[in-house]
Each structure stands twice: as structure tokens, then as C-alpha cells.
């Protein structure tokens, strides 16, 4: 719009003339009370008063309810400051305005382990008094205790938080994580959630995914400390609204990491692909995971494998889009399996010329393994990796805190013909029941071939294994059908995860 200079000037003057009468009103918001005294409102603690003066030091004390643990003071309004926000007893320095502060507490809701080595606290957040706060700040803490000083400390932590709030006539809510990190945790990748939509009338929910890793230095420090190490994850978040929350609760649950491996325990096996009972001059490399007398498979979640399915199971239904939350790569996934956590991995297959590749004890030599000249009928002769297209996952929620994941694998030898169902096959359903946070449960059902070896883990807990060395099964057991059932009779239904 093109306006002449006089018109612009006139408009400016009109605005100023309009605002000038409001100046006293704006000033009234920050001016001292008419009697010259300041007011301090203290929720959940002592120190309340209405005759303080600017700069006065007011002792404040949190009144921690039985069964709760003091978390911190937070300031609701005013420009004063707390001398020690993380201590239950401290001082509040009055500013130039009335102030409002509150003590917050956390309640230990339950203990349950994310794996065999530790414990996670589920926290129930306190209920602030009705109609008090426009801005709330809270911190959640999770402590993972190392069960024994002999065990290695955690190198990874995962968790998921769901916060549920009821707001009175709220039309605007902001929710974001202010910071995360305990003294031992670094590099957390925390979801900031700038806004979210109401789930129902006056009910708002937000879910947070977080994960973190300990640095090698931190692990080394913890190992040297000699004490029972603890890893503390602190999650601080702030809620802002244009109205007052009347209650809020939060629950922190561990995310379960599922791992399913298949592996050939032997150092090498005769080539079933070129079928050489007649001459038999080739072997395939195994995963070399057996020991003892008689020889038995050795179990290792992170060991060499033919196939591996690994994924993270989120403990809350509809963490992402299905809540009406904004799409966010961290908050996925409505189906309960964190999308970017999937790993459908197939180990490489290597074929060797038998007589030139095995040592006196029948194991592959280092020279054979290191050979890079293929197709020469000497040492290593071929290598290939099968497609992972035969590996599928299908999660189904059975309730808000109960999820079933069906895992199907049918992967053949990429150097051998696929006939008679001679692929590595399993078809199983893993159910994780988070309904009772203090008693997490799992079920495992399905069937699998007699060969090779199979191992299933939830976190670090091995919940299933099949050893073909113990059952006397070999390559012939790759053929259809899937001869082994896993069910109630094998004690894998509704088992404690502890």
C-alpha cells in the first residue's frame, strides 16, 4: 500500500494516542501491591505469606507426602528466585513482583527390569493443586541398577514416556522436553513435541520416545568406581497452557528389544546345495558357535548368525499419529514397533573347497577365510548373501499395553537350489504384556525347523533356544515341515519377563 508521508504520520499518531491511556494499565501488572508488600504463594510446602518485600529471603520447605520423593521446586509466576531448586528446604529470594512456587514429588509406582541386569522405576507424577499453574515443569528419573558388579554396565538405554493431562477449558497447550540427561548419560536424542491436539474433551496426551547411549569413557568410569553403578536418566519437560491443569500423570516404561537369531553352530557343514554325497568336496562356513563335550551350541544375542530379526517394541499403543499428534520420526509408531528399529539381517554365505580349506581338526583355516579369489576350486570358491525379502514382521495391539508381533522367516541358501522347503524357516508370535508394570509378561508361540540353531531374546533375557546338536538334527531337517512347536506345553506362555 502506498501512503503519503502525512497519512503515515497521522496513523502513527493515532496508534500512539490509543496506546497512551493504556500505559498505566500495563504498569499495573508489575507494580507493587498498594500496601507495598509482596505475596508469595507456596504450593505443597511452607513459606506462604503476603507481607514480603523486594529482595527478602524467605525460607521455604517442601511438605513431601508419605511415599513420595521430593523432585524439585518449580516457579509458577513472579521474578524471584530459588536458592536451591533441587533441595526440599531452601530459600526464595523475592523479586519485584508477587510470586508463586510449588514443590513437586514423584512416587515410586513399580519396579521392573528392562533386562536381567537392572531395574526401571515407573513414576507417578504428583497432582498439583487445582487451579494453580499456568506453567508446570517436571522431571522424570529412571534408575537402572546394575545387578552385580561383575556384570558389564548398560551401554544402551531405551524408554518411552506417556504423559496424560486433563486441562480445564484448555485451547492451547505446549509440551516439550527442556533437557534430558543425568550425570552419566550423554547423547540423548529426545523428542521435542511442540504441540499436540486434544485426544478427548479436556484430555491431552503426549508420548515421548527417548534413547541414549553411554560413552565408552562413562562405561570405563563406572567399571572402575567399585560401587554398584547406577545409570540415571533424567527427563525434564515443561508444559505450558492458557489454563490450569487439574491433574497429570506419567508413566515411564522400558522399551523391549526383541532379537531372534538363527545360526549354524558348526565351524562348517558339508555342502547340501551341490549335494555332494558323491565326492563331497565343498563345505559351507558355519557360525562356529559350539563348545564342550559333547559339543553344544553357545548362545549369544550378538553372535554370528544366518538370520537376525531385531526390533524395539513400544510399550504404549498409538504413540504417534493415531493420537492425532504431529507426525514425528521419534514418536512413531502406531503399530507398536519402532519403524527405524527394524533389522532384518541375513549373514553372508561362503562356500569352500573342502580338501584345501580345512585343517587337521576339520576347521576352516585362516587362509581359506581370507581368500578373495573365487571360482578357482581352491580355498574359498563362492560367496553370496540371500535376500531378506523372506523376513516379515506383523505387529498387532491386543490392548493399550499388550502387543503381539508375528515374525516369519523363510530364507534359503543363496548358493543352493531352493526345493522341498529347504530354507531356514520359523513362524512365531511374541506377545509382550505391559499391563502390569510390576509384572511384565511375555508369550512365545510358533514353530520352526529342526536345523539350524534358534535363539530368542527379550532385552538381554534369552527366552528360547533350540540346539540341533542336542537334538541330533542336521541339514535334512531344513526340509518341510516345520517339525518343532513352541507353545504352552513348552512353557512359553504368559511367562514373567523378570
Amino acid at each position: 500500500m502506498n501512503l503519503s508521508a502525512p497519512v503515515k504520520t497521522l496513523a502513527t499518531l493515532l496508534v500512539v494516542a490509543f496506546l497512551l491511556p493504556m500505559a498505566p494499565m500495563l504498569h499495573a501488572q508489575t507494580r507493587l501491591p498498594p500496601d507495598g508488600h509482596l505475596r508469595l504463594i507456596v504450593h505443597n510446602g511452607t513459606g506462604d505469606g503476603d507481607s514480603y518485600y523486594v529482595g527478602q529471603t524467605v525460607p521455604v520447605g517442601a511438605q513431601t507426602p508419605s511415599g513420595f520423593e521430593f523432585v524439585k521446586w518449580f516457579k509458577i509466576e513472579g521474578d524471584g528466585s530459588l536458592s536451591a531448586p533441587l533441595q526440599a528446604d531452601g530459600n526464595f529470594i523475592m523479586g519485584s513482583d508477587n510470586s508463586e512456587i510449588a514443590a513437586t514429588f514423584a512416587k515410586l509406582e513399580s519396579w521392573f527390569p528392562p533386562g536381567p541386569e537392572g531395574n526401571t522405576k515407573g513414576l507417578l507424577l504428583p497432582k498439583p493443586q487445582s487451579g494453580q499453574a499456568r506453567r508446570l515443569e517436571q522431571r522424570l528419573r529412571v534408575t537402572l541398577n546394575r545387578g552385580s558388579s561383575a556384570r558389564p554396565p548398560y551401554s544402551e538405554v531405551w524408554g518411552a514416556l506417556r504423559v496424560k493431562m486433563k486441562w480445564k477449558e484448555a485451547t492451547y497447550v505446549r509440551f516439550f522436553t527442556a533437557e534430558t540427561g543425568g550425570q552419566e548419560i550423554a547423547n540423548e536424542d529426545v523428542l521435542p513435541k511442540d504441540s499436540f491436539k486434544p485426544k478427548a474433551e479436556n484430555v491431552y496426551e503426549a508420548s515421548i520416545w527417548y534413547e541414549g547411549n553411554l560413552t565408552q569413557e562413562q562405561i570405563a568410569q563406572m567399571s572402575q568406581s567399585g560401587n554398584t553403578p547406577k545409570v540415571t536418566i533424567q527427563m525434564n519437560f515443561v508444559v505450558e497452557g492458557n489454563d490450569k491443569p487439574i491433574c497429570w500423570t506419567g508413566t515411564l516404561l522400558p522399551v523391549q528389544v526383541i532379537t531372534i537369531n538363527t545360526f549354524i553352530p558348526h565351524n562348517n557343514v558339508d555342502d547340501p546345495g551341490n549335494m555332494n554325497p558323491f565326492g563331497n568336496d565343498h563345505v559351507f562356513e558355519g557360525d562356529n558357535r559350539m563348545s564342550g563335550t559333547p559339543a553344544r551350541a553357545t548362545w549369544n544375542k550378538d553372535g554370528s548368525h544366518r538370520t537376525q530379526q531385531r526390533f524395539n517394541v513400544i510399550p504404549f499403543r498409538n504413540m504417534g499419529d493415531a493420537d492425532g499428534l504431529e507426525d514425528n520420526a521419534y514418536a512413531n509408531d502406531p503399530d507398536g514397533v519402532k519403524n527405524d528399529s527394524w533389522l532384518n539381517h541375513v549373514g553372508a554365505t561362503h562356500r569352500y573347497h573342502k580338501s584345501s580349506s580345512l585343517d587337521a581338526s576339520g576347521n576352516l583355516t585362516a587362509a581359506a577365510r581370507a581368500d578373495t579369489t573365487l571360482g578357482d576350486a581352491h580355498l574359498k570358491v563362492a560367496e553370496a548373501t540371500a535376500s531378506s525379502s523372506g523376513m516379515s514382521l506383523s505387529p498387532t495391539w491386543l490392548g493399550d499395553h499388550k502387543i503381539k508381533i508375528r515374525c516369519v522367516v523363510s530364507v534359503g541358501n543363496p548358493l543352493a537350489p531352493s526345493v522341498g522347503g529347504n530354507e531356514i524357516d520359523y513362524d512365531c508370535e511374541i506377545t509382550i504384556d505391559y499391563s502390569n508394570a510390576s509384572d511384565l509378561r511375555y508369550s512365545l508361540e510358533g514353530d520352526h525347523d529342526g536345523f539350524p540353531a534358534y535363539e530368542v531374546y527379550i532385552g538381554n533375557k534369552r527366552i528360547f533356544q533350540h540346539d540341533p546338536l542336542a537334538t541330533g538334527e542336521s541339514l535334512g531337517s531344513l526340509f518341510d515341515p516345520l517339525e518343532h512347536d513352541v507353545n504352552e506345553a513348552t512353557s512359553h506362555i504368559n511367562q514373567p519377563l523378570r
Binding site: 558348526h266 549335494m275 554325497p277 498387532t396 526345493v419 522341498g420 522347503g421
Partner: protein, 334 residues
């Protein structure tokens, strides 16, 4: 390591206990026998063993052996055993098809399929087994193996397509996987009707649809609608995306170099025993004579597929309309 046992005679094998016999058959190679020529007689003895675990091990070894012989034959290498012995093994395998344990009958069927080129005699025996197989999943597996080996009787294709309606979801899934490999005519409508079957692992259905390439183009809207479903979970969304891409841009599929097309190892017509009679007689399969080139399942895009491609017509029509429109516009301006 795996496969090391001392050389034995046929008599010594019979003196082993059950676990030793199982172990023996799992590791059996000609060199494990004092007389390597006893390889097939030894297998026959295992197949006729009273213990199911021994029969299972022997049947598995027989299946591996037939595949090995086929590879040697097709590589032009000398057969290490006599064909007369092989015919005795075939006769024993035919009996084993009726073994009550699928862990025995299933590898026995595989061994039989790869013991010879597809032919009418074996086709009838296998079709009879297919028709009488009570285990639905085994039935699907047998049909798939027969089709991939070159048997193309109608019963093979109808078995696969009909199995998509099996009450057991695992059978339906096996059928979808088999159809993806075999691509029988007329399966697409049934596959399409199952795309909403949420009880199934639909990954396999989608893979099967994608295997038909541009022939499945009419299902693109259905797949795109599936992809828009926010509740689509697990690996399925990626599979649907892959299928859509495969249908829109079908690639010529090279035949699987590992897939064995069985050829004749022995003339079974004079040595096979008479077929057992059953109450249920399946329709006679289309005969494929020995040494006849079997049906290539993974053939490049077929002529029918090429003819059905609508893109040239669409592009041509678009160009025509563009030219006509341009001319009309010019006339109007004038």
C-alpha cells in the same frame, strides 16, 4: 566335523542302534560305506527302517542325493551310481509317500520329483499323492515343487489357487508364497480377493501380486489404497511400495540359475512298480515326456503380458488429442 563316520557294510548298519542309524543317515556319503556302490541300497534300507527318525533322516539324505545327481548330470559329470540302483530307490520312495509322518513323506516326495525328468508315470503318482495329502501345508509345498520341476497338471495350479481359501492362515500364506514362485494362470483374482485378509501375513500376498508384473496393473489402485491406510503395520508398507514399483516398472526376470530342472537319470517306465489303487483318482496330468524341456517358470515377460500393456495406446491417444487440440485452437483463434 559334520560328515565324518567310519566306513561300514550294509550288515553293520542294521546292527546300529536308532540314534546311531539316524546319525549315520544324516552323514551318509559313499565313502562312509565299505563298498561305495552300496550307497543306494543303504538308503533303501534306511527308507524301509521301522523307526520314523531313521526314515526321516534317510528320506532327507535321498532328497539331497537326487538333487546332487541332477547337478552332476547337468554339469556333464559321470554318474557315480548305477541307474538300476536308482530305480530301486525310486520304488522305495514311492512307498514312502504314504508314510504317516510328513517329516518322512515330504522329503521323499522331493527326492522322487528330482529322481527323473517330469514324466507321465511319476506325474500320476505325484498327482495322486497331491490329491490325497491331508496336510494342507504339505500339499501346497508338493504342488510348488512339482510346478517348479516342470510338472504342469491342472491339479497343481488348482491346488495352489484353492489353498488361498484354506481355513488355516499358514496354508494360505504358503500358497501365496508358492504362487509368487510358480505364477499359475488365473491366480490374480483370488490373490486380489485376499488382499483385505488381515488374519494373514499379507506380505506374501503382495509379493505374489507383484510377481505378475504389469499383468497385475489393474490392482494398482487397490495397492495404493492399502498404502494409504494408516493402520498398515510392520513390514507390509514397504512390501506394498515395492510391489507398486515392480508392477509399474516390471523388470525382465532372468531364470534362477540355481533352480534345477530335473532330467532323466533312469528310465523309470520299465522299472517302476504298478501304481497303488485308491478310491480317489485325480485327473490325469498333462504328460511331459522325459528330456522334454520343462516349462520355464521364471521366463521373461510373456507375449501375452507384452500385448496387454496399455501404455503405447495411452501415449498415442494423448499425442493425438494434443495435436487435434492444437489444430482446433488455431482454427478458433482465426
Amino acid at each position: 566335523m559334520f560328515g565324518q563316520t567310519s566306513a561300514m557294510t550294509l550288515d553293520q548298519i542294521t546292527q546300529l542302534d536308532v540314534s546311531e542309524r539316524v546319525n549315520f543317515y544324516q552323514m551318509l556319503q559313499p565313502k562312509n560305506l565299505e563298498n561305495p556302490a552300496d550307497f543306494f541300497p543303504a538308503l533303501v534300507a534306511g527308507i524301509e527302517d521301522a523307526n520314523v527318525a531313521v526314515r526321516s533322516a534317510a528320506a532327507g539324505k535321498a532328497a539331497h542325493s537326487m538333487l546332487g545327481l541332477q547337478q552332476l548330470e547337468q554339469q556333464g559329470q559321470r554318474m557315480p551310481v548305477s541307474t538300476a540302483d536308482l530305480s530301486n530307490l525310486q520304488a522305495a520312495l514311492i512307498k514312502l509317500l504314504d508314510d504317516p509322518s510328513p517329516e518322512v513323506s515330504r522329503p521323499a516326495a522331493t527326492a522322487l520329483i528330482y529322481s527323473d525328468a517330469p514324466n507321465e508315470t511319476l506325474g500320476q503318482i505325484l498327482s495322486k499323492k497331491l490329491a490325497s495329502e491331508n496336510d494342507s501345508k504339505a500339499r501346497v509345498g508338493l504342488a510348488k515343487d512339482m510346478a517348479l520341476a516342470g510338472y504342469s497338471p491342472e491339479i497343481v495350479e488348482t491346488t495352489l489357487i484353492a489353498s488361498l481359501d484354506d481355513p488355516d492362515r499358514k496354508v494360505r500364506e504358503s500358497a501365496a508364497k508358492a504362487i509368487a514362485a510358480v505364477k499359475p494362470d488365473g491366480a490374480l483374482p483370488k490373490l486380489a480377493s485376499r488382499l483385505g485378509d488381515q488374519e494373514m501375513m499379507r506380505d506374501f500376498l503382495v509379493d505374489a501380486v507383484a510377481a505378475y508384473g504389469s499383468e497385475a496393473a489393474y490392482l494398482l489402485p487397490t495397492l495404493e489404497k492399502m498404502l494409504a491406510d494408516p493402520t498398515l503395520a510392520g513390514t507390509l508398507p514397504d512390501r506394498v511400495r515395492t510391489a507398486i514399483a515392480a508392477i509399474k516398472n516390471p523388470q525382465r526376470q532372468a531364470p534362477d540359475p540355481l533352480q534345477i530342472k530335473p532330467v532323466s537319470l533312469v528310465d523309470v517306465s520299465t522299472t517302476l512298480p504298478a501304481l497303488p489303487t485308491t478310491a480317489q483318482t485325480p485327473p490325469a496330468p498333462k504328460a511331459i515326456t522325459p528330456l522334454q524341456q520343462p516349462k520355464v517358470m521364471d521366463a521373461p515377460t510373456s507375449e501375452a503380458e507384452k500385448k496387454s500393456t496399455p501404455w503405447p495406446w495411452i501415449i498415442g491417444a494423448t499425442l493425438l488429442f494434443a495435436v487435434a487440440g492444437g489444430i482446433l485452437l488455431k482454427f478458433r483463434r482465426k
